[in-house]
Symmetry: C2
Subunit: 405 residues, 2 copies
């Protein structure tokens, strides 16, 4: 498995992509994109569990059930959420327009939107944007990761290559996130395209598995935005032997690669949280089971008080314990160890339920680095989990105090 | 029922109180207090559901089971949480010292701490503080609400008088809060003292009922700090006919008065959230049942994105819908109405699931007031609930980035 510099979905065999400016964002920024597979492909998707689902999510949850999938049409700048029947009609109309132009059926096309809630899509701009995307499909798409950004400050993309049954198999993933005060409240979109030859059933299984350990450790399941979507599409153009069973080395190998891609994107989303100056990884180990480990890790990474303490480079482990305590997971506080780590070193602050005297200066030196790990050992079992977040800053409040204008 | 200007627990018949500086806070600030009933009283308490319970909470949960209660000893500046066996020993020693000096049994005394987590109580200062409290019990106590403050900027107290069976019955409540980014993460302490003649059973019942509708709508049950405690004590000195049944007018009347006191304190806690510039009431009505209404109201009031929008006076009702959607409660978004209100007027922004065009200037004028109400009508049933919070500000982040120093 190697990581390539190439970061465009259009470099994966049999995929084309486009990114254009449709005038949804101010200042001529890129705000629409299209991904097309030249051959019928299979796709798997995970969508928000929020009761209030954006119109494109409602449409996609039907379309993803189709045996084959051919295209994604994506816009930023408008979420098409809380837009009633009009919103559903508009999302359907987008998929129909793309399908009609390319000779697909409507349910082979998925639509994605992110941006402001409650404003109907300006369909004249959307339709013109789709036309522009179709025109530039041949050579475009390198900027797709940019076109899906909202308050993101950096593009998030990764490109992997591996060999399966003697064939090169490529995977390209792009994502957008941000809005990270709770790791679960920013709209997260992720698109993974691969030329792997795999059944829809196996792809769905892998997508579900990796999402639980990666995206859901940034974007908490059951506690999500109206538009969150993570989709993977595989068109088989690599020509590897079909992956149709889970108990094979190819399945294992491909699954690991997808995990690598989604973990990379999850961390990139966390690191680029709104206003963030610091990336935080919470590592819970020695847990009785993975659900306990995940619940605790997410609770700590999502605690506003922990995030604010990390912003202040304050080794306030009490807030770590407090966030674990209200997480809903059971644990024995008298067995817990807590330490803080970064490239500047590691410091133990809590051991078997007892606070340790530690050098505040050393702790502060560790915590002023850009990337921090909070490690929690439950000293009970063998399970572990990681969750990712960022610090809470004054800048976050500024960004979110007046997002719509 | 009348509200008196007098705001000290020591004005309630049969109670004495003291507030002193024990050197736990910097600069000679008041940081310890004592409340004593001259006669055996009954008490009821509600404590944090956080798995990580501070030492005094663990002690109090045992002592509150005693038939009679005589005293509360309280300190700010140190939470005595995550302090292991030493912390438990220290909290027990506090109650024993007070009991011994006043001729009570240890389990008639409750201890409360709030402040930094994980630092053992400086027992020399605590013991000297208790001695000072005992010395000033006769004439002190007016400043007790000040002595329990941490990052609170205002004292929170209220004094009510009512007549029951021809006797004056007084209720005095004091509280501290703050730390309000989630309405559930700041340590909340509340003390209510009354001379009402009531059984422990009835007092416990009232305490439980009012907490669910008031303190728990600020400090969410199951999602609380290590030290949260709300205690009520009644010594019977008013001489009213004993309240020993719920189906009486006296029970109803007293219960309403306690509700009034705790709702007042809850709102005062919300309005004085760390860094807050704006008080927010979320009012959910037309709900099928009270649990649905409470869950939705709390989710909206606790949403960091809603709080940040309110700080920016941004009528971003999409975030209201989003917070409702991930609350865990079921509802039909196509029936929902949302409006914003303040002393500057009221504006409807969402009607039966459809966004309304509204005057942004008028909305902004409404939302720049100090006290805002977000009203949500589910148009389904008859149940309703209110939750209280505050806006999220840059100042909050500053306060919490370096709380320990």
């Amino acid at each position: 498995m190697e990581i390539l510099e190439n970061k465009s979905i259009s470099c994966v065999k049999g995929f084309r992509a486009a990114a254009v400016s449709a005038g949804l964002k101010k200042g001529g920024k890129l705000d629409m994109g299209l991904v097309v597979s030249d051959v019928p492909a299979v796709a798997a998707g995970v969508f928000t569990t929020n009761i209030v689902k954006a119109a494109p999510v409602q449409i996609d949850m039907k379309h993803i059930k189709n045996k084959t999938t051919r295209a994604f049409v994506i816009n930023s700048g408008n979420a098409n959420a809380c837009t009633g029947q009009q919103g559903l009609d508009d999302a359907e109309s987008e998929t129909a327009k793309v399908a009609s132009a390319l000779g697909f059926s409507s349910d082979e096309v998925l639509a994605y939107s992110t941006g402001v809630i409650g404003v109907p899509l300006p369909m004249d701009k959307i339709n013109a944007g789709i036309d522009n995307c179709l025109d530039s499909l041949r050579d475009g798409g390198d900027d797709l990761a940019k076109a899906i950004m909202t308050t993101d400050t950096k593009e998030k993309s990764i490109y992997l290559r591996m060999q399966l049954s003697g064939k090169d198999v490529d995977i390209c993933g792009i994502a957008k996130g941000s809005g990270m005060i709770h790791p679960n409240m920013g709209t997260m979109l992720s698109f993974v395209a691969t030329d792997c030859n795999i059944t829809k059933e196996m792809l769905t299984r892998i997508q579900k598995d990796v999402t639980a350990g990666t995206f859901n450790m940034v974007t908490v399941d059951g506690d999500t935005s109206t538009n969150d979507s993570a989709t993977i599409i595989a068109n088989g153009e690599a020509g590897n032997t079909l992956i149709d069973r889970p108990d094979t080395q190819d399945y294992e190998c491909f699954s690991e690669a997808v995990y690598y891609v989604t973990e990379f994107l999850s961390k990139a989303i966390a690191a680029d949280g709104e206003g963030a100056t610091r990336f935080i990884e919470v590592y819970v180990y020695g847990a009785d089971d993975i659900n306990q480990a995940r619940t605790l890790a997410r609770s700590v990474a999502g605690s506003s008080l922990v995030k604010a303490a990390m912003h202040g480079a304050d080794a306030n482990w009490g807030r770590v314990l407090c966030a674990m305590g209200y997480s809903g997971a059971q644990f024995d506080q008298n067995k817990v160890d807590v330490s803080f780590e970064s490239e500047a070193g590691s410091i133990d602050v809590f051991l078997k339920g007892v606070p340790l005297k530690f050098d505040e200066e050393q702790a502060s030196e560790i915590l002023t680095k850009d990337s921090i790990r909070i490690s929690v050992n439950l000293n009970s079992g063998e399970a572990q989990a990681k969750s990712w977040g960022c610090d809470l800053t004054e800048e976050y409040v500024k960004i979110n105090g007046d997002y719509r204008s």
